[in-house]
């Protein structure tokens, strides 16, 4: 069996251990992913390695890290796709709890501030919606809250702007594109969310494991206040007409 050398960034602020890389030799099997290698080290070699995971199936978004400096899910990154040495470090946009575990709790506070889903009043039950409308919102609802997009965003990494970040724009878009939602969150995103700081570099869109077209489909429309209703005025007209009917 072949082995690989895995380099894990260790750090334990509460115990006064400064960041440093430590190496582990891990046997590899065919089709193995980085998370399995890290778990091997954490379960068999040194049980003090802190790492977060849950589903092992790229569904829950727990295992976000930087693999060879690229933000990615550990459970979705195959070892045979990486050449040579493998280094794993925590996301750098967040404070470190310990080793690979980053403190992402600020995101939940941002979510609390996001205006919640508010359906039009007086809708007739059961609600009717059309698949093509639903489909558009579904793109944003694929988000697994891995926060990789937040990690890669230079506005968040390098500046203290208060910009909510791409994940939260995706959240706003997922609500704004709900066919029966009555709010428009672009104002919130512009005034409180600091979306203006985003300069459309599209880095977030490139790392998204769910392949959500964050910049194109969420950020740009939210910046322009066009995510609600529809992108073209005609659709918006039809929609408002529909509202009248469903009244």
């Amino acid at each position: 069996m072949t082995t690989i050398r895995l380099s894990i960034r260790r750090c334990d602020p509460m115990a006064g251990i400064a960041p440093h890389f430590q190496e582990y030799d891990v046997p590899v099997e065919e089709g193995m992913v980085v998370l399995e290698a890290v778990r091997y080290a954490a379960e068999k070699i040194d049980t003090t390695i802190a790492v977060r995971w849950n589903c092992e199936a790229a569904r829950c978004g727990s295992c976000a890290a930087e693999i060879n400096n690229v933000p990615a899910l550990m459970c979705k990154t195959r070892i045979d796709d990486l050449a040579g040495r493998i280094t794993v470090a925590p996301m750098r946009a967040y404070p470190i709890v310990k080793d690979l575990v980053a403190d992402v709790s600020a995101n939940y506070e941002t979510e609390r501030r996001m205006p919640a889903f508010k359906p039009f009043s007086n809708l007739k039950e059961p609600w009717k919606m059309w698949q093509p409308d639903v489909e558009r919102s579904k793109e944003f609802r694929r988000c697994i809250e891995c926060f990789l997009c937040q990690d890669v965003c230079h506005v968040i990494r390098e500046h203290e702007t208060g910009y909510f970040g791409p994940r939260h724009v995706v959240k706003a878009a997922s609500l704004d594109t709900h066919p029966l939602d009555s709010l428009d969150r672009s104002k919130h995103m512009n005034e409180e969310g600091g979306i203006g700081y985003c300069n459309i570099t599209k880095c977030c869109q490139e790392v998204c494991p769910e392949k959500i077209r964050i910049t194109d489909n969420a950020i740009i429309p939210e910046k322009e206040g066009a995510a609600d209703g529809a992108y073209d005025p005609l659709m918006r007209f039809i929609r408002s007409a529909k509202k009248d009917i469903e009244g």
């Binding site: 334990d12 509460m14 115990a15 099997e29 065919e30 089709g31 193995m32 992913v33 399995e36 954490a42 379960e43 068999k44 049980t47 003090t48 390695i49 802190a50 790492v51 977060r52 995971w53 849950n54 589903c55 092992e56 199936a57 790229a58 569904r59 829950c60 978004g61 727990s62 979705k76 195959r78 709890v97 310990k98 080793d99 575990v101 403190d103 992402v104 939940y108 979510e111 609390r112 919640a116 889903f117 359906p119 039950e125 059961p126 609600w127 009717k128 919606m129 059309w130 698949q131 639903v134 919102s137 579904k138 609802r141 694929r142 697994i144 809250e145 609500l175 709900h178 939602d181």
Partner: protein, 570 residues
């Protein structure tokens, strides 16, 4: 020690826990939710196929009566009739409510909630969001929780519930991020900790499914039931090794996927000529197991599941996660090639014994809901019934717990008791780390369960596993792990192992006791089902060891009996 007072402590932030928290908060209770993973990451996010509810949007003939009958019959007549009735009657309203909370379901042509076929359901009944139903459900509930006055303490591992004189007082949790212990004083506690899939080697379950709620409840005298009923989902991935056990949703068969053995035979025609691939899970799982055992399996030890005949566009639209899962992990393009699949441990039908109306346990102030609770699914859970379960009984648990809480005084957890528990947990930490590695013991346990308490069981295998469990119990006491209380996975494994051992013992003892084959429980030495075993198996903590008793399945009233086919014994 840090203390948190509340009316209701909800342990678990999966669908059941969050729905309970919402209900309790709406009823005016002060609620704290704790979970050992991050908020929004609970096992529930993995659910794929859908929520069963008899909306009748696709098949107009569907109604609660049909849903009730399917649940009882496919549950091998072991389900509590009242729970099944409540589920069948209330699931539809919970689905519409979820929609009002903001969930977006796939639609029919005329704009209503779309429903798909699933094994064991007479009609097309599963409301779904592609194959990401659990994610939509959990995200929607998460939003609701975040916009209510509910305190969430995630990454907090509950290690003990305190009870005195058959009444709960509170609990203790370890905050993983800080290494700090928190003592909760609560008037009511709801256990919504999910299942125990991780006690098996091959499972679809996530890291957190280690039966913690089972252990916590058992230790204070709560009763467990039907623990031998472990669902093996027929289709898990078999390849590559790291993906082994990962679920292949029943939606694949629901949408028209067919099962083939290595000879190219559609073998389900032999095992279940009528329903074929869509027979109940226990039947399909055993059929696949048999095909593989008898040498008609694939090179990787599975059978083929083929959906390629439905074409690329359809597959990518209806089963996007399956498409990317196979692409990503196995280099297989399911729009062109067949998948390789074999059974994987998926769901615990049994669990903490609760009252059907209120989800109350036999311990005053303790409630349980979701996969952690038993009774509803009997010997075999229907696909889609779990998501319905967590909404229906999550809500009921939240409401009943608040009623209880608002009428009770805040109990007290004494400093001495709390300290004793923190010392117990901390005693796993040792610099020398001479004791066994908990992960090694967990691996042995999972192996032993896989071998002795698998899909087909017999007395000798079960007895062997039971012996191994008791050996592991004594070695567990010597476990030592290095490091501190902060995010220490070694320590978390040691704590999980305690609960896993309780669940494994309960599963194995119950399986030994049930000398028949029924539902998911198959004994090669007792291959028939027997009237004598039309009972529920109840486990509880005796003075020195685990005790077992059988109770007759509650007879259902005539009005419901009319709805179902009578059970036949041969």
């Amino acid at each position: 020690m840090h203390r948190v007072e509340c009316d209701i402590l909800v342990i678990g932030a999966g669908g059941a826990g969050l729905r309970a928290a919402i209900a309790a908060c709406d009823a005016g209770a002060r609620v704290v939710v704790v979970s050992k993973s991050l908020l929004g990451k609970a096992h529930t996010v993995m659910a794929e196929g859908g929520i069963a509810a008899s909306l009748g949007n696709v098949d107009g003939k569907d109604d609660w009566q049909a849903h009730f009958a399917d649940t009882i019959i496919e549950g091998a007549y072991l389900s509590d009739w009242r729970m099944a009735e409540i589920l069948a009657k209330e699931a539809a309203e919970r689905v519409y409510e979820l929609e009002r909370y903001g969930a977006l379901f796939d639609r029919t042509q005329d704009g209503r909630i779309m429903q798909r076929a699933f094994g064991g359901h007479t009609y097309r009944r599963l409301c779904h969001v592609g194959d990401k139903t659990g994610l939509e459900l959990l995200r929607t509930l998460e939003d609701q929780v975040l916009h209510r006055d509910i305190e969430v303490m995630d990454e907090t591992y509950v290690t003990k519930i305190f009870a005195r004189n058959g009444r709960i007082q509170g609990a203790i949790g370890l905050q993983m991020k800080t290494g700090r212990f928190v003592a909760f004083e609560a008037k009511a506690i709801i256990i919504a900790t999910g299942g125990c899939g991780r006690v098996y080697k091959v499972t679809s379950n996530s890291w957190e499914s280690t039966a913690d709620g089972i252990g916590l409840a058992y230790n204070i005298g709560a009763e467990l039931m039907d623990m031998e009923m472990v669902q093996f989902h027929p289709t898990g991935m078999v390849y590559p090794p790291g993906a082994k056990g990962l679920l292949v949703t029943e939606g694949v068969r629901g949408e028209g996927g067919i099962l083939l053995n290595s000879k190219g035979e559609r073998f389900m025609e032999r095992y279940a000529p009528e329903r074929k691939e869509l027979a109940a899970r226990d039947i399909v799982a055993r059929a696949i197991y048999k095909e593989i055992e008898e040498g008609r399996g694939t090179a990787h030890g599975g059978v083929y599941l083929d959906i390629s005949h439905l074409g690329e566009a359809f597959i990518k639209h209806k089963l996007p996660s399956m498409y990317s899962q196979f692409r990503q992990f196995a280099d297989v393009d399911i729009t062109k090639e067949a998948m390789e699949v074999a059974p994987t441990v998926h769901y615990q039908m049994g669990g903490i014994r609760t009252d059907p109306e209120t989800a109350a346990t036999n311990i005053d102030g303790l409630f349980a809901a979701g996969e952690a609770a038993g009774g509803l699914h009997g010997g075999n859970r229907l696909g889609g019934n779990s998501l319905a379960d967590i909404l229906v009984f999550g809500k009921r648990a939240g409401e009943a717990a608040s009623k209880h809480a608002l009428a009770s005084k805040l109990p007290e957890v004494s400093e001495a008791e709390a300290l004793q528990e923190t010392r117990r947990v901390s005693s796993y930490l040792g610099k020398s780390a001479k004791g066994p590695n908990p992960n090694a013991l967990i691996e042995e346990l999972r192996e032993s369960m896989e071998n002795g308490v698998g899909i087909i069981r017999d007395r000798s295998g079960l007895s062997k596993t039971l012996k191994e469990i008791s050996e592991l119990k004594s070695r567990q006491a010597q476990v030592r792990v290095p490091g501190t209380l902060v995010f220490n996975h070694g320590l978390l494994s040691a704590l999980a192992l305690e609960n896993m051992l309780v669940a494994c013992e309960a599963i194995t003892r119950s399986a030994l006791e049930r000398r028949e084959s029924r539902g998911a429980h198959w004994r090669s030495d007792f291959p028939r089902k027997s009237r004598r075993w039309h009972v529920n198996m109840v486990c509880f903590k005796g003075a020195h060891s685990m005790k077992l008793r059988t109770v007759r399945v509650r007879p259902m009233p005539q009005r419901l009996k009319r709805l179902i086919k009578h059970e036949v014994y041969r």
